[in-house]
């Protein structure tokens, strides 16, 4: 597995303290990685460091190929027309596929003479995405691309993004604080909490490696299990465990879903599910 992105020991200090603390993660090429975490977890700081907008105080970022970034506020100039926006993109970027950009916007029915401010939020998101894709990046980084979009526009943006991944094998890193947005689209998960990486790995592997157990509260956690979260109500105990083999038939066992997994880790900041250092690659 070749990594499209490798981050090792990354630390960034803000005025009020550490925004990122010793973060290490890697995303294999061709994956669609979800970066999730609560507001203030350091997601945007991490993305800014990955895209080179911010210099870290420690650690390294290695990217295979070019990076394109679509920022949260979709920085487009309101008074520019589409044609002017594309010209601007061509001048700013040495690697620029103008035919692709014009073709894609024509397909979407966004005419060159229209001004950015006349477009709907969904169309503006599509223009911003087109500008990022026209740079033909190896790694596409998107900061909350679905925020402020209606469900139809969200679906349209994700369809476009998935089509791009299918066609070109572009690696994508996409941040969101809404896990539901990333169901079915992402196959790699990074959970960031309080400036630290808590989880990093293949989503199917993570789901297969975690179990949700419920049973009478006198039961002890299965041997060898890492208990991520424990909750008790009345005489019942519920555990989210990692790496367990459950033999006691009194446990009711099922696989955790993605939301449960993410929430359990976020509520237990000291727990982590990270690959061994050798797997991260140097």
């Amino acid at each position: 597995m070749t990594a499209a992105l490798t981050v090792t020991g990354l630390s960034v200090r803000h005025r009020r303290g550490w925004a990122l603390r010793d973060c290490s993660l890697s995303v294999p090429a061709g994956r669609v990685a979800a970066l999730v975490g609560p507001n203030g977890a350091g997601k945007t700081t991490l993305l800014h460091t990955v895209t080179g907008l911010l210099t870290p105080h420690g650690g390294t970022v290695t990217v295979a190929g070019d990076v394109a970034f679509m920022a949260q506020d979709k920085p487009l100039y309101d008074t520019f027309t589409i044609a002017e926006t594309l010209t601007f993109g061509r001048r700013l970027n040495p690697r620029w596929d103008g035919a692709y950009a014009a073709g894609r916007l024509a397909e979407l029915g966004i005419e060159p003479e229209r001004k950015i401010k006349e477009l709907s939020g969904g169309q503006q998101a599509q223009v911003a995405l087109t500008l990022a894709l026209a740079r033909r990046p190896g790694l596409l980084v998107l900061d909350e691309p679905l925020a402020n979009l209606d469900p139809l526009a969200r679906h349209d943006v994700m369809r476009a993004l998935m089509g791009e991944v299918a066609e070109r094998g572009t690696t994508v890193l996409i941040s969101s604080h809404v896990v539901a947005d990333l169901h079915d689209t992402c196959d790699w998960l990074v959970v960031l909490n309080g400036g630290r990486v808590q989880v990093s790995g293949d989503i199917d592997d993570l789901l297969a490696g975690h179990l949700m157990l419920s049973g009478p509260d006198e039961l002890r956690p299965p041997a060898g299990a890492q208990v991520i979260e424990e909750s008790r109500t009345g005489r019942q105990v519920r555990l989210l465990v990692r790496g367990a083999q459950v033999l006691d038939p009194r446990w009711n066992v099922r696989q955790a879903d993605l939301d449960e997994l993410v929430l359990a880790y976020l509520r237990s900041p000291e727990a982590s599910a990270l690959p061994r250092l050798s797997e991260v690659g140097a």
Binding site: V32, H155, M158, R159, A160, M162, G163, V165, A166, E167, H183, D184, T185, C186, D187
Partner: protein, 135 residues
């Protein structure tokens, strides 16, 4: 050509939903040997899902010998699923209709019946390949 759809609340893994829909189409004859399945790109641009999910579904269908990927051309149906003869299916359906009528007379509601049915299915396939049809 088959058009996929997703039930996001079903709890069934997305790739399995795609596998089931192809099998259903093979059973109904809406997909026949020689037909091409949509490309990964076509599917993801319709459903907004990860391309690897489509490839995983197609690999599973290929493993079962139902479809074949031809490099550069696409994925093609190899054989149909004629596991159940139409006459058998109709007879079973009539018996099931009769069962539902009796259950209603006995005072069972829809949820009761679904629970009974899924219990029977669970028992029938216990230890088997998780409800998967065997050829």
């Amino acid at each position: 050509m088959i058009e996929f759809h997703l039930d996001r609340r079903s709890g069934v893994a997305t790739y399995l939903q795609l596998v089931h829909q192809v099998k259903q189409a093979l059973r109904l004859g809406t997909l026949r040997p020689g037909d091409r399945l949509p490309t990964a790109r076509e599917v993801v641009e319709a459903l907004a899902i990860n391309p690897n999910t489509v490839l995983k579904a197609y690999r599973e269908l290929e493993r079962e010998g139902l479809v074949e990927g031809r490099p550069g051309l696409g994925t093609f149906v190899q054989r149909s699923l004629g596991g159940v003869r139409l006459a058998d299916q109709a007879a079973l359906r009539r018996e099931l209709d009769e069962w539902v009528r009796r259950a209603r007379r006995a005072g069972l509601d829809r949820d009761d019946m679904e629970t009974l049915f899924s219990l029977a299915m669970t028992d029938a396939y216990r230890g088997g390949a998780a409800g998967e049809e065997t050829a």
